[in-house]
């Protein structure tokens, strides 16, 4: 059902955890739906210096969370805002169709974290 890449990220999630003094935090999903993701970011010189995640959810929810941290780490905020759900799924070698909508929320969580960063600084979101 899942690609090897998905299972690899599920078994060995990258950047799992919290950043206590995060510059931005984004949470999407809802435990009612079975998926809840929180992304924490640390920003330095307009780049994502550090990024971590915490996720309640199925295998693909955990794998996409892990994947997005790899895709986004080191990127500028503008670049990170351009990462799409499709990019995440493609990087994992695809997701089962039923999971594309319900569990592929990681890009949204990342964008929410960046928006939270701008909001904390009183700045407009740059896309």
């Amino acid at each position: 059902m899942y690609t090897e890449k998905v299972m690899d990220h599920f078994k060995n999630p990258r950047n799992m955890g919290e950043i206590p003094d995060a510059d931005g935090v984004g949470t999407v999903g809802n435990p009612v739906c079975g998926d809840l993701m929180t992304i924490y970011i640390k920003v330095k010189d307009n780049r994502l210096e550090d990024i971590k995640f915490k996720t309640f959810g199925c295998g693909s929810a955990i794998a996409t969370s892990s994947m997005i941290t790899e895709l986004a780490k080191g990127k500028t905020l503008e670049e990170a805002m351009k990462i799409t759900r499709g990019d995440v799924a493609d990087s994992l070698g695809g997701l089962p169709p039923v999971k594309m909508h319900c569990s592929n929320l990681a890009a949204d969580a990342l964008h929410a974290a960046i928006e939270n960063y701008y909001k904390r600084r009183g700045e407009e979101v740059k896309k």
Binding site: V32, C33, G34, F56, V98
Partner: protein
Amino acid sequence: MSAAKRIYMDHSSGKPVDDRAVEAMLLYMQKSYGNPSSLHGMGQEARKALDEARTKIAELINAERKETIVFTSGATESNNLAIKGVAYRNKDKGTRILASRIEHMSVINPCRYLTTKGFEAVFLPVDGYGFLDLGALEEKLAENTVLVSVAYANGEIGTTQPIGEISKIVHSKKAYLHVDAAAACGQIPIDVRAEGIDLLTISSNDTYGPKGTGALYIKDGTRLEPLMHGGGQEKGLRSGTENIPAIVGFGKAAELAKKEMSTRAERLTRLRDKLIKGLLEAVPYSYLNGHPTRRLPDNVSVRYSFIEGESMLLSLEMEGVLASSGSACTAKTLEPSHVLLAIGLKHEEAHGSLMFTLGRQNTEEEVNHVIAVMPGIVKRLRAMSPLTPKKLID
């Protein structure tokens, strides 16, 4: 135990066929392949095999005579035939059908379908263990009710219903009682006459027979219409050439289930209770779904707070354990199991449910393995979950 060896604990989804049933079937696939409707010798051999299998199924449920058993393609067809067949045939008598909210989808969906054909379907509540609310049954059981459908035992949470008591209520309004015994049949004793059952669904594979066949017990005098029209097999209630090899295997499995029921049930109940105790004791915020004792011998349904079922299943499979879950994420729909919601669980609790259904080849060693690996799986996933309280993470 190495992860390379698979520990199968998903018997409610599929069971192996008993060797003795396989052996009985071979003759009718390779050497005696006649059609029971044929007059010649080979046809009559098939007819005899069909009658013998029918007798064995009838004996398993203490039916009055073998002619009350109609073979179908499985439990889904039996449920459809019982519900739609009775509804269509008795429309002059009434148009209301009652079923519990925790019925299998092959009961719920025929009921829903009938609402597009001029019938009314009412789904009855259950309590936190999954027992039917008998007060609600009495209240909704109107004069125009033709059929009430309640499973003997729930396949997901294992709770067994007081069928005799339900039957008395149903018959007080002259409605028919259909009992889906797909999960229960062969595991626990069922007596259609003593318990007052009008229609009973039986599944072959659930009794360690082959897939692709099942039966519906139809009490003498119960009026129903066929869904399948053709050559008039099965007293005209289910046309189509009988699947003799599968039916022979089903008959053999039923015979063995009757003979070995008490030893099988005793052994499984012991493994079940050991697994439940071991799982719940090892991990905080873990709970049993369903009733602790009034449940099927094979069923262990538990839930863990703060984590989700599919990720537990994937982790279990990494440890060689094959189970199933009540979470949306393993199903075709996005909703968690309707059964778990109906017993009052919140969505996130239902998502965190796991189901182990034990079978005859499961051993105590396997149960011990599951008990041993589960705490580590829960701990790892809880460490990842934003819902987990800080005090639970080291």
